[in-house]
Structure formats: structure tokens, C-alpha cells
Amino acid sequence: MATGIRDKVVILGMGCSKFGERWDRNAEDLMVEAFEEGLKDAGIGRHQIEAAWFGTAIEEQHVGKSGVPLAMTLRLPYIPVTRVENYCATGTEAFRGAVYAVASGAVDIALALGVEKLKDTGYGGLPQRGRGGLNNFFWANISAPGSFAQLAAAYRAKHGVNASDLKRAMAHISVKSHDNGAKNPKAHLRNRITEEDVLKAPMIADPLGLYDCCGVSDGSACAIVTTPDIARGLGKKDLVGVKAIQLAVSNGQEVQYDGWDGSYFATTRVAAKRAYKEAGIDNPRKSISMFEVHDCFSVTELVTVEDLGLSEEGKAIGDVLDGFYDASGKVPCQIDGGLKCFGHPIGASGLRMLYEMYLQLNGRAGERQHPDPVLGMTHNLGGFPSQNVSSISIVGRYGA
């Protein structure tokens, strides 16, 4: 009988590059930037890493395929390196590989590193890419904002919300994230914005305006994981343990069957339930200290707080406008600025979210520091509302 991942693995060290338009840096430079920090934080040498997972999604834009770019760049000593890609949930997928390797007892110390260098396309937004030979013949002409924007139409229809109320709650989400990002030296966008800025911004995909969309950035983040015993043996105290990692992947029910109404993420609801069970959490609204959601778009964050069971269905707008998810609120969301301010270098994002939870749990988050964090959750989503990969990780004080 499987017992789950709870507290079998701890984070030994983490690193995160500065996110942004890193015109003067290759993907390889960003990988080294994150890795150097992580290695020092872990207090080990590269030869102690026994296996690695490398997350990158749009590899044709930068490093190319396989695990080789990671091994070459970091000069890893002929260890197993697995390259993973799972849409925008790629970073968490890399983390999951490393954590499971340690939990299985196959290795003592494993590395997960994600990177994406998106700013070499010549235009704004995510790089254009094919959807696969057959899909190219019949998939609608969707962009990322256009697919997520549809959440708004469906959410409004389901809950009888008028367009301006929804847009105002979405605006609050972006304003809050910029307030948080302004305090984060590693964030890409560090400016504060107003609700009016959001409402007046040019339209990208109705009803998402420019400020409803996350940035597009270059960046890298990494985690080095091991067992609690080894971490203690290396002199670590106040360990950050992995409480849960869950993944739910669409099987066609949303996009091809008749139950889903387009207003929520069916996968996230399933993954959240499993994650809370794995972590032993009964009431997430009470137990989760802070969380990062995959706020690729403001509306994604809005519906996701319901899918995670933190707001009741149909009540997210109220919670958001009440400041429940602000940095000073009951359960801060995107306390680091989120994708909104970090941008979304795809392979790195899931690890970047964990990096903030890790800093907070270690009391190292500077002026963003949460007073007393116990459990931090990350939600890293890939794909489209109608077919996606939803991953949820919960980390927290070891033994808590």
C-alpha cells in the first residue's frame, strides 16, 4: 500500500536566477546562476549529486533536446540526467522526478533544474510552436491568453457575474501581485500598478488585457533534495520537507465529453484533493500558510483558488476583493509576485514557486517574509483549461 511522499524527502538547497529579459545571458548562464546558488545553499559539491532531472519545454528556442545540455553545462559526472517536459508544469515535473528518486532509495541526493530562455523570439508573448502533426490540422487557432480568457466567459455564465465585477476582481489580483513583486529583487517586473492601469490596458484576448497576463521572461531555478537523515548529517536544521506532490492530467473529458462547463480546472480539483490527503491536510483554508498558483493570467488565479478549495465555488471574487489573498491577508497568494511579475520561463516556473516557499519557510524572504509559515503550496499548470496538466506541491516544516 502506497504511503505517499510526506516527509520522506527534504529540500537540501535551492537556487533561482534573476528572472527577466536577460539579453546578455544564454540559457546555460541562467542554469549556472541557479545551480551555483543551490549548490552553495546545499553545502555539497557537484560530485555528490547522483541523479538529475532537467525541465525545459520550448527547447528549440535555446538548449535543444535531452538531458545532455544540463550535464554539459554543469559538468555533471556521468550521472543519469532525464529531460522532462509537461507543458508549463515542466518545473514541478522535474522536481517530482528528483523527489521520487530519493524517496525510492535509489539515490541519496538528486537535482531538479528548470530553465527557459524565451526572449530570443523577436516578439512579445510565448514563442509560436506547432501542436503536433494531426493537431495542426484541426486545433483552433488558440493562443495561451485566448484559451484561458474563455474561463471568464464560462465563469460569468455559470455564476451570473457581470463583466465589470469579474474584471475588477481580476484587476485586484494583478495589483496585489505587483505589490508583492515590487519587493522581490529577483522578479522581472518590479513596478506597482493600479486597478485603473489594469482596466485601461490594451486588450490581448477578451476579456484579458495586458495586465491580466503574466510576463514573458528568461530564468532558471533548481532544487537539491535528499533524505531527512542525510540532510541532518550535513548539518542542516529546520528542515523543509516535501509533504505532497500530485499531478492530474486531462484525459479528454473536458474537451470531448459533456460534463465540464469551462469555468474551472477539473484536473486541479482532483490533484488538490489528492495532495491534501497525501499531506494530511483536512482544511486547507486554515492549514495552508501561503501559496503560489499558476497565475499565467489573472482569471486563472481567480478560478484556481476555488479549485484548490481555498475559496468556495462562486465566492472567489469576494475573497479576492476582501484581500484574503493579499500579502497581509489570511492566506497570501503569490507572495513573491507570481508569474505575473516573474514572467514564465516555462521549465523554471514550478521550481521558482517552490523556491519562494522554501525561502519563506526558512525565514529568508526579507521584506516579503510571512510571520509564521508552516505549510506552503504551489500550483503549477500546463496546457489549456480544456486539456491540461495540473500539478500541486506542498512543502512545509519537516515533521509538522
Binding site: T121, G122, Y123, G125, Q128, R129, G130, G133, L134, N136, F137, F138, W139, A140, N141, I142, S143, P145, G146, S147, A149, Q150, L151, A153, A154, R156, A157, P202, M203, I204, A205, D206, L208, N251, G252, Q253, V255, Q256, Y257, D258, D261, G262, S263, F384, S386
Partner: protein, 481 residues
């Protein structure tokens, strides 16, 4: 028996956009002030995702309605603007209609008579078999040319066979004369036309009356008995002149639809014939004639069966489904007459893997999904396993065509970011009536008019031009009902 051969059904399609001729004239006034004399009415204007195939298919769907399609023996597709020189265009239409492979098919082209020549050939060859004749036309014209004013885009379709025709063929006659009023050589996009007075006096006025006379003689009919004379011509007063010379009553000369649609080339005689059939009553006689390196002339007598025909869009419905377009630069852009900065997102090359398309031709071209024999769930596309979570049966699905099933909008957006030749790109999730759904591109929608719950129907359109290879990728899109 020969008298029983005739037209069993008919249909038409005009693109929804109607370019205002005064917009064309105003934009070109600096260069060609003479166009002002033609600046009346409007012309049908294909959307960026329409061509002669998509329009002919819509006309064919209108013609076939809910009819049993298995009895079709042949499909003829007429146009001078077939998208492909080598890849049978009729085959694409046949696949989109899900006609099956046991079918004869033919592309007809080469002159403005292509539509009528296909119809005459089908009537002669039918022998009781059902033959679908469809014609679509999407001609380019140089900016500031009279053709740009005169032409329109559109399509018509006629089902020919025996049994109870709505219009019986009384006779047909063709003249072949290498009279070059205009021509379009290979690899040239535009028509080159000679002087109108010569075309009128030496062409129309001599060749067409001769054909009509021969037709009347062969069929034993009197020209005075013609109640509808369908004679496309962009030159003024030509059709009445021919009628007079041929002995046809002046009142029989039908509207060429110049003011409301424009001349749809090889499709136009058939479009006018469909329009006449819509208004005709039993006993009426319809003469349709076409001109282009000769003349085709066909005479029909409308039968009692006309009253029993199911309602359809045909020409009147097509004329009513319209949106005025005053944006002349948009027309130029849709027809690739101006070099637009389309942005880097337009550069993507997705390739056109032909083996993939062939393997999935029913799904892509025919919009065929599946219906599970085990649980009844309909779904698109068809997977090897049924999508219903409580079922998941393996290889349990029969063909389920979705093209004629209505749908409702479940969610949507208007996307400015993604590349579209006509931004913003509208698309969304649609739910088919009776089950099944898909994320679909929308077409022919008005900005700000899309709503959740809005009823939609499917239309076969150009999904993308693979410009690197000259391949046109077609797929189905949702459009407001």
C-alpha cells in the same frame, strides 16, 4: 423516359460580406475616376477563409439538405478558380460531404461556361443516375479595374437525375467559338479583357441568339414560351437585346443580381437558374444561357414537384444573409493585393503532412467523430477508447458526422495576440446538440456579438494557407446560425 431527366434539387451560397462599390470607387477615384459610373450597389466578397471549394460545398449542402446521399453517382465541380491544378477539387468537396469513395467525380474548368457545360453534360450523362453539379467562383481582379466592380464571389449547386424533377430538361444546345472576350493564362492571376462594344456586338449578340435558335428548334419549343431567361452579362442592356433578337418576352429577362451580388463567373448562370427556380411555379419555362468562347443554352420546364421541395437558403436566403463591408483595404488584404505587415507570428511553418491528412481525412475533411455502440456517447474526435469515463470501451465507435449538427457556444474569446488574417480571432468551445464538443475557430461573426449559449452551425473553411508549399488546409469552423 428522357423527359423525366431534370433538376431534382438546388442550392446556393454567397459569402456574407458585401463590399460596397462606392467604397471601391472612392478609394480609386484619384486614379480611375471613371469607375464612379459603376459605383452602385454591392458585390459578394469572400471572407479570407473562403474559396471556390468552400463556397461550392456550402451550395452543395444547401442543395442536398437532408437528402439521402448514398444514391449520388457523380460529383462535378465547376470553376475557373479551382484552388488546385493537380489534386482533384471535386474530391475535396466529396470528402467534406462524406459521399464515400464509390463515386465518379470531375473538375470542370476553362471558361465562363464551365458551370453550364457541367450541368449540360450531367443531364446528358445521367441516364437516371443522380449527379451533383456544383460551381463556385472566387476571381481576383486588379485594383481599379471594371472587373473589381463587376465580379462577385459565390456558388450554386444542382442535383440532376430522374424521377420527379422540379424542372424537366426540354433541351440543350452548345456553340463553341474561340471568341476571346477575356482570358486568364496559366500563372496569371487576372483577367485580360477586350473592348466591351466588340464583345457585345460580335460576341453576345451574334453567338447567343444562334444558340437559342438552335435550342428552340431541337426542343420544339417557342421562344415566346420562356418565362425566365437567365443570362449573365456584366454589360448593360445585352440580355434584353438578346431576348428581343431571340423572340423572348422582355418581362422574362431576369435580374443578373449585379446590384446585390455581382457576377460570380462560371457559377453565375447556375446561380441565376437557382434564383429562377426559387420563384418559379409549375409550367414555367426557364432558359439559362452562358457565354464564354461560345454559348451553352438549356431549357427547362418547371413541374408540380417544385411545390413539394423543402425550404432552403438558396439565393434569396443567401442575399438576406449579408453584412455590409465598406473597408476596401480589407478586401485588398483578403485577396493578397497588398503587402501587410502580418508579424512574426504569421511566419510559422506547420508543414502539411499528407499521409497524416489521408489517414484522418474523414475526421479533418468530413468532420466525422464517433458514436459509442456500448454507451451511445457521441464524441469528436473519435478515440480508440470511448471518452465517457464509465465506459472507455475499446474500438466501440461508429461514424458520427458532426457537420450538420447544430451547436451552442460554451465559452469564447476574441484573441488579438494569435495571428489571424482578420483579427481578432474568435474561437471557443462549442457543445453539439445531442452531445460532443470541440474547441473551434469561429467565422463570419460580428465583433461583440458572440455570447455563451449562442446557436452555431458548422462550415467548411480554409484553416490555413501553407504558403511554403502552396497547400490549402481546410477544416470546419463554427458560425452563428
Amino acid at each position: 423516359m428522357a423527359n423525366d431527366i431534370g433538376i431534382l434539387s438546388f442550392g446556393a451560397y454567397l459569402p456574407r460580406l458585401r463590399l460596397q462599390r462606392k467604397s471601391i470607387a472612392a478609394a480609386n477615384n484619384w486614379f480611375a475616376p471613371g469607375l464612379r459610373g459603376l459605383a452602385k450597389g454591392e458585390r459578394a466578397m469572400a471572407n479570407w477563409d473562403e474559396d471556390s471549394i468552400t463556397m461550392a460545398l456550402e451550395a452543395a449542402r444547401d442543395c442536398l439538405g437532408g437528402r439521402e446521399r448514398a444514391s449520388l453517382a457523380q460529383l462535378m465541380l465547376a470553376s475557373t478558380t479551382h484552388p488546385y491544378d493537380d489534386r482533384q477539387n471535386a474530391g475535396i468537396v466529396a470528402n467534406a460531404l462524406n459521399l464515400g469513395s464509390a463515386l465518379a467525380s470531375l473538375d470542370v474548368t476553362g471558361s465562363q461556361r464551365a458551370g453550364t457545360s457541367a450541368l449540360a453534360t450531367a443531364l446528358a450523362a445521367s441516364g437516371g443516375r443522380e449527379i451533383l453539379v456544383a460551381a463556385g467562383e472566387h476571381r481576383l481582379a486588379k485594383a481599379a479595374s471594371p472587373q473589381e466592380m463587376h465580379y462577385g464571389d459565390g456558388a450554386a449547386a444542382l442535383l440532376v437525375g430522374a424521377g420527379k424533377p422540379v424542372a424537366r430538361l426540354l433541351g440543350a444546345h452548345s456553340e463553341t467559338v474561340d471568341f476571346v472576350s477575356q482570358f486568364r493564362a496559366r500563372d496569371v492571376s487576372y483577367d485580360y479583357a477586350w473592348e466591351e462594344r466588340w464583345i457585345r456586338d460580335e460576341g453576345y449578340m451574334k453567338i447567343v441568339p444562334r444558340a437559342i435558335e438552335a435550342l428552340m428548334e431541337a426542343s420544339g419549343a417557342k421562344p415566346q414560351s420562356v418565362t425566365h431567361f437567365c443570362m449573365p452579362c456584366t454589360l448593360s442592356r445585352v440580355a434584353p437585346g438578346i431576348a428581343k433578337r431571340a423572340g423572348i418576352a422582355e418581362g422574362a429577362v431576369r435580374d443578373t443580381l449585379a446590384a446585390t451580388c455581382g457576377d460570380t463567373g462560371a457559377a453565375h448562370p447556375l446561380l441565376m437558374l437557382v434564383h429562377a427556380l426559387e420563384e418559379a411555379k409549375a409550367g414555367d419555362r426557364i432558359l439559362v444561357a452562358s457565354f464564354g468562347q461560345g454559348c451553352d443554352a438549356l431549357l427547362f420546364e418547371v413541374t408540380d414537384a417544385i411545390a413539394g421541395l423543402a425550404p432552403r437558403r438558396a439565393v434569396k436566403g443567401s442575399l438576406a444573409r449579408r453584412r455590409e463591408e465598406a473597408n476596401y483595404p480589407k478586401f485588398l488584404a483578403f485577396n493578397d493585393h497588398i503587402v501587410l505587415e502580418r508579424g512574426m507570428r504569421a511566419e510559422g511553418d506547420k508543414g502539411s503532412p499528407l499521409s497524416t491528412l489521408y489517414r484522418n481525412r474523414d475526421m479533418i475533411t468530413g468532420l466525422v467523430g464517433g458514436r459509442c455502440r456500448a454507451c451511445g456517447t457521441v464524441q469528436f474526435p473519435r478515440g480508440r477508447y470511448c471518452v465517457k469515463p464509465e465506459c472507455n470501451a475499446l474500438d466501440s465507435q461508429d461514424d458520427q458526422p458532426f457537420s450538420d449538427i447544430g451547436a451552442k457556444v460554451m465559452s469564447y474569446t476574441a484573441d488579438v495576440l494569435t495571428y489571424s488574417p482578420d483579427p481578432p480571432a474568435y474561437y471557443g468551445m462549442i457543445q453539439f446538440d445531442g452531445g460532443g464538443r470541440m474547441m473551434a475557430d469561429f467565422t463570419d461573426v460580428d465583433e461583440g456579438k458572440v455570447e455563451v449559449g449562442m446557436p452555431m452551425r458548422m462550415m467548411f473553411r480554409i484553416k490555413e494557407h501553407d504558403k511554403a508549399r502552396g497547400f490549402v488546409r481546410y477544416f470546419w469552423k463554427a458560425t452563428p446560425q
